[in-house]
Assembly symmetry: C2
Homo-oligomer: 428 residues x 2
């Protein structure tokens, strides 16, 4: 196989230019490792004239990504435009229909239309690879699809949005409230144009839905992810959790239970001395648990030019080497329609209440917890002023239903000010 593999690259932002730079810098290495030269035939982007960090004048320019996807002199269509609708989707469909393999970093598209794309790829006898869609340079798609293929997966878990992890760790280290660090992150250019994608947990949930599909052999079901962002995480909770030996992380968890597929993305407490607890700044971490392998932890840069381009290159080299894998690790027709299940796996919970300082107040709280079937592992009442006292409770393992019951009943006691805060303590 010394025929070159010919690429058409659509999207020349940070990642696209990163890919161009690797192909230009490492041509010999890539040819050696791929068994054939890897070449760029043509490129496409919104603005041809824009100043870019790589020379693209040697490639043919294609004004339309869809036309690029259909070119006869392209073997692999590399989609780095983004977005779950519009030109990215249209171009990928065009590429498959005209017999090209596809490499993409588009998590939203795969999380939402993954099943249709997997079916289209199979019908066309082509492959779609998407290592860069989840956790940047961390090889989590390959590890799940290939390295753990002999395992029944128990749980997939991870911190997969670097911006949220940056905000949470920066709040703690600088002692700043959410709003202040959010503005810092915006000024540093860490946030998406629509910041809800980051801080609202959407972006990380796209990634979780993709991992869950591979892990559990089911159709991607982004709609079924229970999502809560980091907007309501307060510096108070970060500090109190630290007092109790925990860190707060935006954690995605997917697991198959007897009731169905649980997928949740939410701020959780994890032990401060666990690998997840120790994860600082924009770094990502994915934890994979299989019945044979036990627990595997993968850590690395979740975004950025080099790491994301590295993941795109691994897909391109895989195709160049003649490796052809089913999109989500098994035939599309065999992917189950998952039964989405609301979180029911028991866990310990962290509760923070503002107690009104009057005789019998704590007894009333304890009674509500007891009536909800919740037993308390640790409780701390902090020094107080102005007639109220902050109270922290770490429960023993209990069900989300029991917690909901208690949270609903607590205001009725008349001894609580405002809303109680509850955060799940995920076992890691």
């Amino acid at each position: 196989m010394t025929t070159p593999l010919r690429l058409g690259i659509a999207g020349l932002g940070t990642v696209g230019i990163g890919v161009v730079k690797i192909i230009q810098a490492h041509a010999d290495l890539l040819a050696l490792r791929s068994g054939r030269p890897v070449e760029i035939t043509a490129v496409s982007a919104r603005d041809r004239g824009r100043n870019r960090d790589a020379d693209i004048s040697r490639y043919q320019w294609e004004p339309s990504a869809v036309d690029l996807a259909r070119r006869e002199d392209v073997d692999v269509f590399v989609e780095l435009i983004g977005g779950d609708e519009g030109v990215a989707r249209e171009a990928i469909e065009a590429a498959l229909a005209s017999g090209k393999d596809v490499v993409t970093a588009n998590k939203a598209l795969l999380a939402i239309h993954g099943q249709a794309l997997a079916e289209a790829a199979e019908a066309a006898g082509r492959v779609i690879r998407f290592e860069a869609a989840v956790a940047g340079g961390i090889p989590v798609i390959k590890t799940l699809t290939e390295s753990l293929a002999g395992n029944r997966i128990r749980r997939v878990m991870g911190v997969m949005n670097g911006t949220c992890n940056y905000i949470l760790t920066r709040m703690q280290s600088a002692g700043l409230p959410y709003e202040a660090v959010f503005e810092e992150a915006r000024a540093l250019g860490y946030l998406e144009a629509d910041p809800t994608l980051d801080v609202g947990g959407i972006d990380a949930s796209h990634k979780l839905a993709i991992l869950a599909a591979i892990a559990f052999g089911s159709r991607p079901a982004f709609d079924a992810v229970e999502i809560e962002g980091i907007e309501r995480v307060s510096i108070d909770d970060i500090n109190r959790a630290a007092d109790m030996g925990y860190r707060i992380k935006l954690l995605g968890v997917a697991q198959m239970t007897g009731r169905g597929l649980e997928q949740r993305m939410s701020p959780c407490l994890v032990p401060a001395d666990s690998p997840l607890g120790q994860l600082e700044g924009g770094t990502n971490m994915v934890v994979l648990e299989g019945d044979a392998v036990g627990q595997i932890v993968l850590r690395g840069a979740g975004a950025g030019e080099g790491p994301t381009a590295s993941a795109v290159m691994s897909d391109i080299i895989e195709i160049a080497r003649g490796v052809r894998l089913p999109t989500f690790g098994q035939p599309a027709a065999a992917l189950a329609r998952p039964t989405p299940a609301r979180t029911a796996v028991p866990a310990a919970y962290y509760l923070r209440l503002t107690l009104i300082d009057k005789p019998g107040a704590l007894a009333k709280v304890a009674t509500v917890l007891g009536d909800s079937g919740i037993s308390v592992d640790r409780m701390r009442q902090y020094g107080h002023a102005a007639g109220t006292a902050p109270v922290l409770i770490v429960t023993h393992k209990t069900t989300p239903d029991a917690i909901d019951h208690a949270i609903a009943a607590l205001p009725g006691t008349g001894v609580i000010e405002g809303e109680p805060v509850e955060l799940r303590i995920e076992e890691v």
Copy 2:
């Protein structure tokens, strides 16, 4: 492809039985993910009658591993016997010569005879896969060969012998000397029959040589690894290092420099709060650094039935899926003969001296360090009795040659009792 993939498994110890159990438990899952059934045709082991944790009566019994490797009804020969010579090697050669693919967990064989085996596989048009040979369930072979194939690798580093990490972390947590924990580990069955393989750093060096070959596109060169085991690590050094914010790990490091390929396996200091520093017990960790991806950290169980069998299964499924990769990630003929280089990359060093308590003693030590071109970052002299005082020094970055020079000159000062201890502080 619905033709079953037929396996011949040689070696029914812990790992072999682990593989049998996965194939029996997950037949449907494996067929779905592989695109074809995965079946065991025949097995071979030293003792047919031995009580085993899985029913092997349904498979044909082959008294000789070499005969098993040549059977017409076997597609993949799975070698789980071990050893760098003898029947394992002979059987693998027989398998390749008779047109079988090979899956093995044999690190010694690959580290020592990897080039010859890669050439034999290529000549026969077959593949050899060996994910289980390095770091058990951690997918480091696949990550290096495939996920990071778009990177020029800068450095590969890791804790790859769980027994040594168990001994070192147990010494620290229990405050016990090396000899006591060594005996504990032996009683627990953690040590190889020849414990030098573990504590002498041999086993971990086999793994390092394999990783270096893939990372740097060179022939495996186990002979060129600078090896030092953990036998001379004292509880004193563990405690002193902890005082200074470090942990001692048996760390393998491979990096390509202008002078050649540096491969070293030695007890090193790493920051206590780094992922490597936080690694407890028998867990393994591999750190991979590439020019695009930055740093990737992989963590998991480095040994044991399930994790190792999981890695073996990933190779089997890869072959079942029709994936065919060159042994060390590129054609065998293109693997460079590495120029082995003695460690020259500068680092900070930890020195421990026993200073004889007389006027001007410390000045004499400082003079030797200065004359060797070494500058001191931190120094501590501990309280003392009986006319000598322990002195700890953390140097600024310096060369191994400068350290050797100082170590050779220090006894000549007449103010040092015994041998100075020096340990490299690896930058992680």
